[in-house]
């Protein structure tokens, strides 16, 4: 089987098979076919190929359509529930751990002094994503130094976070680094 050198006509042969050529193109191809055995053979080959390619199991449209859900696609959001709960649980674990440690060991005089001299070095856990409003949770660098009212304020912030719009972390403590394998 040899190839006709007229590439332009050969490019149109699949469209001839599908009857999608414009009137002028169809006439041009038909005129060429009347004098070209190679293209006539190629057209026949393509028609056979289309027949073979059409062999496929028939589909049950109703059954397939039944599987289509109207639930909106879940977008990746590290702070969507249960991610927010995970963060809150992590912070609570740190707080509890810090309290336990401080209860057992007690703050030393040096630590007390350091805490006063260093001042409160707030470590921002969350920063609101642009457009989501401002909502930050901060606490001093030494958990064991937090007073009861400070702990209560921290926990209250955590409670408020549950109702907050989605946040994206700017700075996350290594302990709280989250990797939920978000969908891309």
């Amino acid at each position: 089987m040899t190839d006709c050198p007229n590439a332009g006509i050969r490019d149109l042969l699949p469209d001839m098979v599908h009857s999608t050529l414009s009137g002028s193109d169809r006439e041009r191809v038909a005129e060429h076919l009347s004098g070209c055995a190679d293209c006539t053979a190629e057209l026949a080959l393509l028609e056979d190929a289309r027949r073979v390619l059409a062999v496929a199991p028939s589909m049950n449209a109703a059954r397939i359509a039944g599987a289509i859900s109207r639930r909106p696609a879940v977008r990746s959001n590290r702070f969507a529930v249960p991610g927010t709960w995970r963060i809150a649980a992590g912070i609570a674990a740190i707080v509890v751990g810090g309290l336990t440690w401080s209860m057992l060991s007690g703050p030393s005089t040096d630590e007390l002094q350091a805490g006063v001299e260093d001042g409160v070095r707030a470590q921002t856990i969350f920063a609101a994503a642009p457009g989501n409003g401002s909502h930050a949770v901060s606490f001093a660098g030494r958990l064991g130094m937090l007073a009861t009212d400070q702990l209560e304020a921290l926990l209250a912030e955590m409670d408020d976070m549950d109702d907050s719009p989605a946040l994206e972390p700017r700075t996350v403590l290594p302990l709280l680094a989250l990797d939920e394998g978000a969908e891309r």
């Binding site: 599908h18 080959l45 190929a49 390619l53 496929a56 199991p57 449209a61 397939i64 599987a67 909106p72």
Partner: protein, 184 residues
């Protein structure tokens, strides 16, 4: 070069999509009915034999879940082909060890033919099927989309992630390979 009717940006598809978004579930059934068989043909042409309806169903589920991202630049069918192709690639990656496919650095030929092979009773059709089965995966994709579905090179390029010129080259290389196989 004209486009196949089903692959031109279709007013009927757009209307059905709008109706589905408005809550008409029958529109989804009609959309599935309009394109499911073409997806099944494409899956078969890629060498898929098992669970084709499941593959087609997964394609529609993915499509409807991300309908907001369909801008209508291409036809709905072309977009569906793109989604299904990705699913086939994913499926093959996960099933590669189980399936009887010879893979030589990106040149994959489907060597497993099952029940569908018996449907093509004539010798010419069987030889053609063998010839197309000997093509590389990309050649087979381009050839089936051009000959089986009548898509333009531009549409094919969008589906397989290539350029229009490369799609034309793949098609003609595939056609030459088919002819050589049949001439042997």
């Amino acid at each position: 070069m004209s486009e196949a009717p089903e692959t031109r940006p279709d007013g009927r598809d757009a209307e059905l999509i709008a109706r589905w978004r408005a809550g008409d579930d029958r529109a989804a059934t009609e959309l599935v009915g309009r394109h499911a068989d073409a997806l099944a043909r494409f899956a078969s042409s890629l060498g898929e034999r098992a669970e084709i309806e499941e593959l087609v169903q997964d394609t529609f589920v993915r499509a409807f879940a991300s309908l907001d991202s369909f801008r209508g630049d291409s036809s709905l069918r072309t977009w569906l082909f793109t989604i299904q192709r990705r699913l086939v690639v994913d499926r093959r990656r996960s099933e590669k060890r189980r399936r009887n496919i010879v893979s030589i650095e990106g040149h994959e030929s489907a060597t497993e033919y099952t029940a569908l092979d018996g449907v093509i009773a004539d010798e010419t059709g069987q030889r053609l099927q063998e010839a197309m089965g000997s093509l590389s995966r990309l050649q087979r994709e381009v050839f089936s989309l051009r000959v089986g579905e009548g898509l333009s090179y531009r549409e094919i390029a969008g589906i397989v992630g290539s350029t229009e010129g490369a799609a034309r080259v793949h098609y003609h290389n595939a056609l030459r390979a088919v002819k050589e196989y049949l001439d042997d």
